[in-house]
């Protein structure tokens, strides 16, 4: 059951990612990215990370991608044109992606004993456990990240303010 769900949503995730690259219209690409994000969240759910799964949906699929779609609609972006640059990207990109995939796969395979592993659907991390780790053991990185995001927001406001 869990394996079937994993296979379905894993394949959906890869299919969405491929479709994201192959589609020429930005809206279709954005929608494929939403499919990727949502199927990733199902994979998180299968690993027992409930809170992470829903945070993925709310933050990525629900907020960030809505903004993507919003901007594409606002700019009324049309279909992209294929240029020589994009052909070069094809030629260099596909071997590059394959090489990266091979490196990552071999690294994970060799280090699999040190990394630890999770069985599909075998454990449930409660939101309480997650927040205890986040706010006690990892408090400093967490706060530094939020300050980083705050700086990014301030930067955006400053840049937008200069236009007027």
């Amino acid at each position: 059951m869990h394996l079937a769900l994993f296979l379905i949503f894993g394949l959906l995730c890869i299919g969405g990612a491929l479709n994201l690259l192959l589609q020429r219209h930005p809206i279709n690409s954005a929608l494929s990215l939403i499919v990727v994000m949502s199927s990733l969240s199902v994979l998180y759910l299968l690993l027992g990370a409930e809170f992470l799964a829903l945070a993925q949906i709310i933050v990525y699929s629900g907020a960030i991608m809505v903004l993507f779609v919003f901007v594409i609609m606002l700019l009324n972006a049309g279909e992209e044109q294929r240029t020589h640059g994009s052909r070069a990207a094809y030629l260099a990109g596909i071997p590059g992606v394959l090489a990266l995939f091979a490196v990552l796969a071999s690294t994970f395979f060799t280090l699999r004993t040190n990394l630890g592993s999770a069985r599909l659907g075998s454990f449930l991390v409660s939101t309480g456990d997650l927040s205890r780790v986040l706010f006690r053991n990892l408090l400093l990185p967490f706060e530094v990240t939020s300050v980083l995001i705050l700086v990014a927001i301030l930067g955006a406001v400053v840049l937008a303010g200069k236009e007027q």
Binding site: L54, I57, I58, A63, V66, V69, F70, M73, T127
Partner: protein, 363 residues
């Protein structure tokens, strides 16, 4: 596997037959969906009747006694109408948009508990799925529902639709923040995202321990209500479909069942918002009189009474929705954005800080 997981979560069951579990779950889904869709249809009638009375006229009164069969006639009309497909639309997305809108509106009802945790053959009878993160599921599904409206406007290839969906998207993103922050106070008080836990915290002393009174979440309740009105695109925040400016907004190009799906999604969202507000702030299915009311009738009456309390509270919300629609004029767009970002959001943050401080020192 599902059954096993369910058993482990509930903790008090020893053996659940998987066949019975699947059958009863299917039965629950069918019953809840049918009741929910009927409620959606009759909410439309309630709105037409009440707005009629507010505007000093009768409202629908010809079909059936008191116009009670009007939703049936409306549904039949929408079903039999010709389904027009405009030439210049982006076909797949045009069809997908109402499906997204309606399915997102229907999914959230699946995690809402309607009554006490009463088990029959080991299956919870008054809730389809009891999730540890029920509240987040509702927020997540609502945030996905935005795509229905956004895509419908874009794929229609019509300037009014596009404007309507742009407005709606901007509005929903803005008010989602205030909505999310307003429920944090409740979650802080409960210490859980499970909807049953949230209700169980509130049913000790009747009305006095509801979050809106005893939990001191009155401000959060106001924020939730306002943001929810905006999220469901209802008056006074119905700019996405402002008739006088945008003909019909995002669903201008839709006809027949596709239009009906948007229409049903709007009313289904109203009901869901009412259910969530009831669960979070008004003590869910718990009686307002607490244990003052003597336990009468048999076990069946005692099992169904909480459901009646729940339905009554949700009905009050629907009444409020219609009342507000009949009373308040529409906001201007800049007022809407200013209200959301400059008033609701800071007040919601202040409420979260105040609640956490109080809980840290007295909780």
């Amino acid at each position: 596997m599902c059954a096993q997981r369910n058993v482990r979560q509930s903790g008090n069951e020893t053996d659940v037959n998987i066949l019975i579990f699947v059958l009863l779950s299917l039965l629950k889904v069918v019953v809840v969906t049918v009741i929910f869709l009927t409620a959606v249809a009759y909410t439309v009638l309630l709105e037409r009747k009440l707005v009629g009375r507010i505007q000093n006229r009768w409202g629908p009164s010809r079909v059936g006694p008191f116009g009670l069969l009007q939703p049936l006639a409306d549904g039949l009309k929408l079903f039999l109408k010709e389904d027009l497909m405009p030439d210049a639309v982006e076909r797949p997305l045009f069809i997908l948009a109402p499906i997204i809108a309606l399915s997102c509106a229907l999914i959230s009802i699946g995690v809402i508990p309607f009554g006490e945790n009463i088990r029959w053959h080991g299956v919870d009878m008054f809730q389809i799925a009891d999730l540890n993160i029920g509240l987040l599921v509702i927020l997540g599904v609502t945030s996905i529902g935005v795509y229905g409206i956004a895509l419908s406007g874009w794929s229609s290839n019509n300037k009014y639709s596009l404007l309507g969906s742009l407005r709606s998207t901007a509005q929903m993103i803005s008010y989602e923040l205030a909505l999310g922050l307003s429920v944090i106070g409740v979650v802080l008080r409960t210490g859980s995202l499970r909807l049953r836990d949230i209700v169980n915290v509130q049913n000790t002393h009747g009305m006095l321990s509801w979050n809106v009174f005893g939990g001191l979440q009155l401000i959060a309740f106001f924020i939730y209500l306002t943001a929810a009105f905006a999220e469901t695109n209802r008056t006074p925040f119905d700019l996405p479909e402002a008739e006088s400016e945008l003909t019909a907004g995002y669903h201008t190009e839709y006809s027949s069942m596709k239009f009906a799906m948007f229409f049903m999604a709007e009313y289904a969202n109203m009901i869901t918002v009412g259910c969530v507000a009831t669960l979070l702030f008004l003590g869910g299915w718990s009686s307002p009189f607490g244990h003052l009311l003597p336990a009468f009738g048999g076990p069946i009456v005692q099992a169904l009474l909480p459901v009646l309390w729940f339905v009554g509270k949700v009905f009050c919300f629907l009444f409020l929705y219609v009342w507000v629609r009949g009373t308040l004029p529409r906001f201007r767009y800049d007022q809407l954005m200013g209200f959301g970002w400059k008033f609701l959001l800071p007040v919601a943050i202040a409420n979260v800080m105040a609640t956490s401080l109080v809980l840290a020192f007295h909780g």
